[in-house]
Symmetry: C2
Subunit: 366 residues, 2 copies
């Protein structure tokens, strides 16, 4: 999705793709297929580039440090580690006094018991979209988490099971020069641990709490030295506080609404930040924007391109984004954005369209 603003701005991209034909390789002519854990491959792809960035957090830190000797790496490895390693992140945020759920690195079920049940266990690295996260209420439920951590060669973090009203996301873009642009705080709804629906701005959010969330995101961006997009996922607790859940240092699913709903999309601002260009306005263009993900259905009844005729005819203002991926159960294959003056209307239209692409509506399902 970075390719769209790059094309608009005339910025040439060079891509390291995991395999021929993946989404990004379909739209970036100048690409190399290779392994992002191999330093020689990384050196080859960045040769001649003005800067380097990435769309996931799994490039080894030491490789990023090596690349940083020869060209700007955004975000830099010293910042990125806080999005890669949850234990490092919790320790740093705790030291900064940023409100977080209570947490501790644990090595045995006994240590989890000492931490207190029920709680959430997370592998410190490598998890995403609900993978690497377990809700446990007793010592006998901890085996899976510890086994997964051991297989991956990482640790286990125990976190307080937060009593939350909903999840929020505060996104900021920050440039190497230190300019920061804060997007409106949004409400994010998960389904099976995967981001499902985003409403921008978060409805009925206390303005002080919204400001607090933006301040946390701006402070983290500055003090951790983040360059590019930072998403701070937060819990809004039932007693009216915000606690930091996760950090992502890249364009994030909770910001896909910005493609059609903000003056400058998160993808364009990421690109601008990586190139140390002045950031674009993060303002919303409409009172409400709703983003709903299109996920492959379990029963493989979903629609991709063949979903267009109905979806586009029903709603001429619908904005559809499909990623050129094949359908697999639970896989994010696209999203829809709907903006407007009336939130209920936006929700209905976006949910209908996403359900249609997913295959939950139509002749087969009646």
């Amino acid at each position: 999705m970075l390719a769209e603003p790059a094309a608009a701005m005339g910025v040439p991209l060079r891509l390291l793709a995991e395999a021929e034909g993946v989404s990004a390789a379909q739209v970036v002519p100048d690409h190399l297929v290779g392994d992002y854990t191999d330093l020689d491959t990384l050196r080859e792809v960045v040769a001649g580039c003005a800067a380097v960035t990435f769309d996931h957090e799994h490039v080894p830190t030491e490789h990023l440090e090596a690349l940083q000797q020869t060209l700007p790496v955004h975000p830099g490895p010293a910042a990125l580690v806080h999005a890669q390693d949850k234990a490092v992140m919790r320790e740093r945020l705790g030291a900064m006094g940023v409100p977080c759920p209570r947490s501790a690195v644990v090595a045995t079920p006994g240590e989890v018991e000492a931490f207190g049940f029920p709680c959430v266990l997370k592998t410190t690295r490598g998890g995403y979209d609900g993978k690497g996260v377990w809700f446990v209420s007793g010592p006998d439920e901890c085996a899976e988490a510890f086994a997964a951590a051991e297989r991956a060669g990482v640790r286990v973090l125990a976190e307080e099971a937060v009593d939350f009203r909903r999840e929020l996301s505060a996104q900021v873009a920050r440039s190497p020069s230190g300019q920061v642009a804060a997007y409106p705080v949004v409400q994010s709804t998960q389904l099976d641990g995967i981001c499902h629906e985003v409403v921008a701005p978060a409805p009925d959010l206390d303005p002080d709490l919204a400001l607090e969330a933006q301040r946390i995101a701006m402070r983290l961006a500055q003090e951790l030295g983040v360059t590019g997009m930072l998403a701070v996922e937060l819990f809004e607790t039932t007693d009216g506080r915000v606690l930091v859940n996760e950090l992502a240092m890249r364009p994030h699913n909770s910001g896909h609404w910005t493609q059609d709903g903000a003056v400058t999309s998160q993808f364009e601002n990421h690109l601008r930040a990586v190139l140390d260009l002045p950031l674009g306005s993060p303002e919303a263009r409409a009172p409400w924007t709703v983003m709903v993900n299109v996920l492959g259905a379990e029963d493989e009844t979903g629609r991709l391109y063949d979903g267009y005729p109905h979806a586009l005819a029903r709603d001429p203002r619908l904005r559809v984004h499909l990623y050129g991926k094949s359908l697999r159960p639970g896989r994010k294959v696209g999203h829809v954005n709907v903006y407007g003056d009336d939130l209920d209307d936006c929700l209905e239209r976006a949910r209908h369209a996403a359900a249609w692409f997913r295959g939950d509506l139509g002749e087969d399902s009646e």
Copy 2:
């Protein structure tokens, strides 16, 4: 620019590029370099495609007719000829009773004299951006036009020099199924025969005249069988009529404002129409949108990528589109869009940014 909505919609493009490295080839991985006047090359590039379209009008009609035997060609050659050949267009529009400047095909300066001076001479095919157009006020000024026509193997059309207040453009998208979406009528300002500035909607345009312009565009799209985008360039005469000047059957410079100013851009609607998908809303998203072209300056003082720091810092809501082309005097290398509630503010911001990229502002020019 079609590549951006194609990427968003997950629609794979295959491109025939004139040369390696041209704008479109920079953003469309699946491209072939070849000659668009060679039928075998055309057959090779369209093999396996669902439909074919083009971004200029110069593919030979007989080749499009040949391709049409094997796959949908949008716009089809029978429609396209009205954008390729001004004599054919004038004859057809005259027969339809569509208001046009008085015109006649002329073969000698004597015939131009019989038509009446002053008048405008145009080669019937191949002209664009002010090329192939001469304003003449006497028989001794006609030689260049006739020589150019003879070189190109085409005819000369004489047209009445219209006393016009300004130029307008009415764009519609039409799908093979016959659905039509009409964009707001815009005001277009030329500089040396090249589109320079577009204001959407056309300020102070009589609503009846706007409707008349849209009706003409919708009628032409339907009766000529246009599929894809149609731009009808019109004169608004000093006595309050509209007369058709030119037709273009593709996304057109007068519609670049739609990328940031309309719900659905002309590029996305062209793509949808070519694929016979339901069209997106052509509504404006803001009260005013101004587009100003970035042209290479005569003295080569222009800026491309190095123009970004000032332009983006001065105006965080500026939308810049650069085409990945090198600077050449008079060459369109990009455009800027500015939208908002206040027309004067939009004009100032867009003109400043375009002048900056052109090199007319800044230390060198003071």
